[in-house]
């Protein structure tokens, strides 16, 4: 196997491992559930995608024929990751998980805020946060 293919495969593998690690650090360190959701669903999926791309290149040049079937895993993960994130977020909303965001606005608060802002623009903006507390 030529050296430059090893370099490209290594780059893909390192990129994939880096993104998987970043996603897992995000899962471990971020402060509340809805922020933790971002790490695994975006970074880790991209990491596995990069890793599988590297593996595909490696086997293509190892066997001297195109190996497309590993792309199926990437395709499957890219389809299922948003779906599973959506359903986990829905379950968390259903359980009314507490989140630590500063500006918490429900739909009604947002609508009331818009009406209030139309009526008088100089009203103080903290009223939404207080009502949500």
């Amino acid at each position: 196997m030529p050296f430059w293919i090893e370099v490209i495969v290594s780059l893909f593998l390192l990129l994939g491992a880096f993104f998987a690690l970043v996603g897992s650090i995000g899962l471990a360190k971020l402060p509340d559930f809805f922020r933790r959701l971002h790490g695994p669903t975006k970074a880790t999926t991209l990491g596995v995608g990069g890793m599988i791309l590297g593996s595909m290149l490696y086997f293509t040049f190892l066997n001297n024929e195109l190996q497309f079937q590993e792309l199926l895993i990437t395709l499957f993960l890219f389809i299922t990751a948003p779906a599973s994130a959506h359903i986990v977020a829905k379950a968390a909303l259903h359980l009314k998980i507490q989140h630590k965001a500063k500006h918490t606005e429900t739909q009604d608060d947002a609508n009331a805020g818009k009406k209030k802002a139309k009526a008088k623009a100089i009203e103080k903006p903290e009223s939404n946060a207080e009502s949500a507390e």
């Binding site: 495969v9 593998l13 899962l27 596995v48 895993i73 599973s84 986990v88 379950a91």
Partner: protein, 89 residues
Amino acid sequence: MLSNVIVICIAALSLALFLNLYRLIKGPTLPDRILALDTMYINTIALIVLLGILQQSLIFFEAAMLIAMMGFVGTVALSKYLLRGDIIE
């Protein structure tokens, strides 16, 4: 060169799996734990792909595919249980 890179990648993924395990054990709420399991199976797919490169075998592809499918079904089933109190209505 490639074997060294694979060792580095396995180390990074093992660290990632330990971080997921920490969130799985600590995670204050149930959706946190489900999310940690979800991330764990995705990282496991990456580990198995690395093992396939290390052993130069295409057999591990099927294992990774199966884990991807079963992991998704597991995540959906657990979330559905939290959402509805029942998996199949």
